[in-house]
Symmetry: C2
Subunit: 196 residues, 2 copies
DNA sequence: TGTACATCAGTGAACGCGCGTTCACTGATGTAC
DNA sequence: TGTACATCAGTGAACGCGCGTTCACTGATGTAC
């Protein structure tokens, strides 16, 4: 039973790893079922057995990367003691993770996937709830502006996502290390609001 | 001479209009050379005569939409008298334009194009220079934090772009009118910095 | 323990489809004398 | 003004390619008795 399941799990891993390697080497353009099959050495039929479709593989990869960044950020958040340090640390955490996991970041920013596919949405939902749970007391105490959680997410993740997106495209003038130094504080100002 | 050039210009218009209609009705997925040719009634050969390739048409459409939003924002900016009203008005201007030009906004957010294609980069460059010219005095006077223009662009456009992107995907919980009310001020706080 | 059967995992040739592109061509407009 | 020529604009059948998918099949592992 275990051995059987393990064989399958290993194939799934091999396929997802190959997919990630393709993003690293050739970008989205190179990411096709043919390239995944060739690089992994796994047959098309086997890929279909496990993922149902190419889209299924694609979504699984996207969901996995999403889970990884968000877990990293949440982990950082829990170590912070104030609203300010929490927000700033999360921002830094996202930028650092992106810098250190370029291929996965490339998946998140260029894959022909939407964050709103059910499989991905579920991965995000539970994690956003956790962040919201941490945030609420700070809002109630007035340390963070009384904004809807969605708006706060947009204010914090917006600049970060755009920064990383451009960095991935190798746009000139984008210095991720400068962003790590400078942006978290600015983002804090935007959610803190006028008081204090 | 004029008549000849006009005939060509008209064809170009017809093609770009058809492309935009396709984005409106079917999204990026439906945007193929076949669909553009069918909808416009123009022949493939003629499309190639004017744009060189399907990619050429695609880039032209993207560049046109880019020019339109940016010109709208700059126009708004010039009417503002303070740093704060300028930044806030630009943010509002972008969100309003997106709401009122959904198809063009869809092109900007979903087209398989990069902002960094030469043809598009040039359209952006000259306009960014103009914004920078407006911004510099405010930075020098300390009314806006001493950040690089790129970082300021990321801080302001990041949240806006993410908001519009999600609105275009019909994500639940995204209210563009709420964003228009609330976000510009937050963005101002992020670029203003700690003082004041 | 051995054997029969069921289920899971994996194979790869074959398929249809629609994409972007080419090319030899005709028609319209402008230019020269 | 007329005619000859050059250039620009437009046509659409034909092409090759690579994509995602299917399917009839074999092999491996687990289960029952």
């Amino acid at each position: 039973m275990t051995a059987k399941q393990d064989r399958g799990r290993q194939t799934i891993r091999i396929l997802l790893d190959a997919a990630l390697d393709i993003f690293a080497d050739e970008g989205v353009e190179g990411f096709t079922i043919t390239s995944v099959v060739n690089r992994s050495g796994v047959s098309v039929g086997s890929l279909y057995h496990h993922f149902g479709s190419f889209d299924g593989l694609s979504t699984a990869l996207y969901a996995q990367c999403t889970a990884e960044v968000m877990d990293t950020m949440i982990d950082t958040m829990h170590r912070a003691s104030t609203a300010r340090t929490g927000i700033e640390a999360m921002a830094r955490s996202y930028l650092r993770w992106s810098r250190d996991h370029r291929p996965k970041s490339l998946v998140l920013h260029t894959a022909r996937e939407s964050e709103y596919r059910p499989a991905v949405a579920e991965v995000k939902r539970s994690r956003l709830v956790e962040i919201e749970k941490w945030l609420m007391p700070h809002i109630e105490a007035g340390r963070v502006q009384a904004l809807s959680p969605v708006v706060i997410e947009l204010l914090t993740m917006g600049p970060l996502a755009m920064t990383v997106g451009r960095w991935l495209e190798n746009m000139p003038g984008i210095d991720l290390d400068e962003a790590i130094t400078v942006m978290p504080e600015c983002i804090w100002f935007s959610v803190k609001g006028p008081v204090g």
